[in-house]
């Protein structure tokens, strides 16, 4: 009993529990969900699909977690920034105004680097607005939320730019000879780099201190504003990387659709991971698990034949339930009502 209590008290318990629950429902409803096979030399199956398609959300969730922790607010521009990064890369690779190309204008590496850095620049803008000018995160990032897509369209001369160059498709699909989707590697790489950075430097401590009590952090010698800025830049870079993956999947820059509504999924992932949206302590692993939970829900619904238009409704209901279950108020209420029941039972026993 004690060990069970210990396990359930872990911060990561609920995110994992929710993920398992979603998977369990799948197991009952459609046993084929867990089938993994090999087709055309690559892994194939719903589970792989969840891991693959969940990559963008997971990458975004990493950056979003830091932003939430340090500023008790959310960066709602990440989806649009993804699209801007993709457009920037495609514009570089194809050349301005070119609709479709098989020949790259610049080496692919430079194009991708440009796209990721574009995300970083967006992060700088958000960071400056929030950290220096003390604008509410939601309002500050609303600017790029609306503007970034439009800028992307400008970069691509108002059209969808196709990069018909085989290696450009690797990032979002498969590298020849490797059966695992490349996006999974990218996600793992992002998570590892960020967690090593947090572990090896004092950034994690700084972020939490600034997020919990920025005045006290400042008195203790931490430049709270700079730390906040850095988090937004990291978030921007993550959005840039996610944009690369999304763009590579469709080997083009579709400014209107890349990363559409992804900011909401990323924020949800952070919350599902047991992180308080009020800032302070954070748990990166929880957010990543949360991201895959969301993807699992989406994939499940589609697998069950719910139409793409209707899926968000059911997704919303599931998410509300998960969030409510995790809420401290709900837990308190639960334990209170249990205590009441026990008291009632004890009273009843006495009467009897």
């Amino acid at each position: 009993m004690d060990t069970i209590k210990k396990i359930t008290k872990q911060q990561l318990f609920l995110p994992f529990f929710c993920l398992l629950l979603v998977l369990l429902i799948n197991l009952i409803k459609s046993p084929t969900f867990f089938n993994i096979g090999i087709q055309n030399g690559v892994l194939y199956g719903r589970l792989i699909d969840v891991l693959n398609r969940g990559s963008e959300i997971a990458i975004l969730a990493v950056g979003q977690t830091l932003v939430v922790a340090v500023s008790a607010g959310t960066d709602i521009s990440v989806g649009s920034v993804m699209s801007l990064s993709a457009c920037g890369t495609c514009m570089m690779l194809a050349g301005y105004g070119v609709n479709s190309t098989t020949q790259l204008a610049v080496p692919m590496g430079i194009g991708i680097l440009f796209g990721i850095l574009l995300g970083g620049v967006c992060g700088c803008i958000n960071g400056a607005l929030v950290a220096k000018l003390k604008i509410q995160p939601m309002v500050a990032t609303l600017i790029l939320f609306t503007a970034a897509r439009a800028i992307g369209l400008l970069l691509c001369n108002n059209q969808i730019t196709y990069i018909r160059y085989e290696p450009y498709k690797y990032l979002g699909n498969f590298i020849p000879g490797c059966p695992i989707p490349t996006a999974i590697f990218v996600t793992i790489a992002v998570i590892i780099v960020v967690s090593i950075f947090l572990r090896k430097t004092a950034l994690g401590l700084y972020i939490q201190s600034a997020g919990i009590n920025s005045r006290a952090a400042r008195i203790s010698g931490i430049n709270s504003a700079l730390i906040c800025f850095v988090c937004y830049v990291i978030c921007g870079l993550c959005a840039g990387i996610a944009g690369m993956v999304a763009s590579s999947r469709i080997y083009s820059a579709d400014s209107n659709n890349i990363g559409l509504n992804y900011e909401l999924d990323a924020i949800l992932a952070v919350a599902l991971g047991g992180n308080s949206l009020g800032g302070g302590k954070f748990n990166l692993a929880g957010a990543v698990v949360g991201a895959y939970t969301i993807q699992a829900i989406t994939t499940t619904l589609l697998a069950m034949g719910v139409s793409t238009d209707q899926a968000p409704v059911i997704k919303a209901i599931i998410v509300v339930i998960i969030v409510v279950v995790q809420a401290p108020t709900f837990k308190e209420w639960l334990s209170n009502s249990e205590a009441k029941r026990r008291a009632l039972a004890a009273e009843g026993g006495q009467k009897a």
């Binding site: 090896k200 430097t201 004092a202 950034l203 401590l205 700084y206 939490q208 201190s209 919990i212 009590n213 005045r215 006290a216 952090a217 400042r218 008195i219 203790s220 010698g221 931490i222 430049n223 302070g280 302590k281």
Partner: protein, 503 residues
Amino acid sequence: MEQNELIVMRDIVKVFPGVVALDHAQLTLHKGEIHALMGENGAGKSTIIKCLTGVYERDAGEVYVQGVEGNVYNHSTEDAQRIGIATVYQEVNLCPNLSVAENLFIGREPVTRLGTIDWRSMNKKAKEIMDGLGIKVDVTVALENYSLAIQQMIAIARAVDMDCKVLILDEPTSSLDDHEVEKLFDVMRDLKKKGVGIIFVTHFLEQVYAVCDRITVMRNGGFVGDYSISELPRVKLVAAMLGKDFDDLASIKPEGDANISPEIMLKAEGLSHKGTVKPFDFEIHKGEVVGVTGLLGSGRSEMVRCIYGADRAQTGKEYMNGKEINIKAPIDAIKKGMAYLPDDRKADGCIGELSVRDNIILALQARNGMFKKVSRAKQIEIADKFIDMLQIKTASRETPLSQLSGGNQQKVILARWLCTHPDFLILDEPTRGIDIGTKTEFQKLILQFAKEGMSVVFISSEIEEMLRTCTRMCVMRDGEKVGEIEGDMTQESVMSAIAGGEK
């Protein structure tokens, strides 16, 4: 109730969870009188006022108001206003984007026959009111275009025009300059002549003697006395506020002799921060313990915050070990070997959700910089060392700081600074809310640090504590450093220095 009494409050009790905020407090206000309500922070001044104006409901006691039958219970500020009690707070509670006239008549605008607002008569009446108070303003201009003083005056005008008999001014002068204060006083004297009773809450002693007729002193939620201004000279007022009678004051000598080296550790010239401290000079030797004294709100905390860079100094220069230093933010001060234990532990000290260990190593880590992380093993070693040395009572070093008691939290914050091995340590009220035993420990520690060559600035509301540890004291009054005392310091000499020259 006598004829000229406006308000009589007797035996007021107000209990908040865990604290008795008012313990049989009383207050009597006469017609045409300016009545000062004095006491240190937490003495219960605001609470008794809030009990009168209906913000809080009292738990026991009687309130009588002239012209109202029986014991009065106000359930809201509107109730209080209806029987003629108006309040003007420190922050102006008006709408800055509306015109002066609109602010004066908001909620009771004159109406034309058609039911629309009668702008012409409203502006005319507003003009009359402001002229009556001797204030020249264009009543059609938005309030935000006028200085805070004028805004405050308009708030008062609004209160007066609503037929108030009692006007409560809760620290109205804290954001005003001398000239503006004078103007406010003129208005107050004018109202007094019209028979309005004014309750005036302020931290500034000078102002009390400039304008008030009577003083009620409160301490720890209780009533100390109701004096006329002539029978209570400054020193006695301070003694009453601090709870010391001069007859009982035995002089306490510092324990252990001073061990001050001639080397100057830190020197400040003309430092100031707008609105909180006027330019001051300061000097501290190696191994010296200097006290900064003054009433709460006298600028003593602001002075050290300015030295440390918590509030960036706008003028002046600082030298450390003879070299000029440029302090832009606390981190600069930390790198130069300063440490600052803030008086507002909760807001400026604790990172509540983080562990005791994280809290202890925070400043050390900040000084090292982000990329030189203090290793986990080292963190544990430091945390354990200080938990042991300061006898911090905590379940473990990984317990969140918020779960510790106040005194132990304070020790953790002290540990945060001690582990950076500062040369110059500022302690602002380190012993507030700490039990007696721990207090003595703190004092011993301070003396020990000084012996080891550390320079310490020590601020405390308890004068005995400072007498025991300090060899010299800077005296602050109304945001200004008014002098220093050293040598034979007694409670009496310190208190008269705090109170300032008698008039």
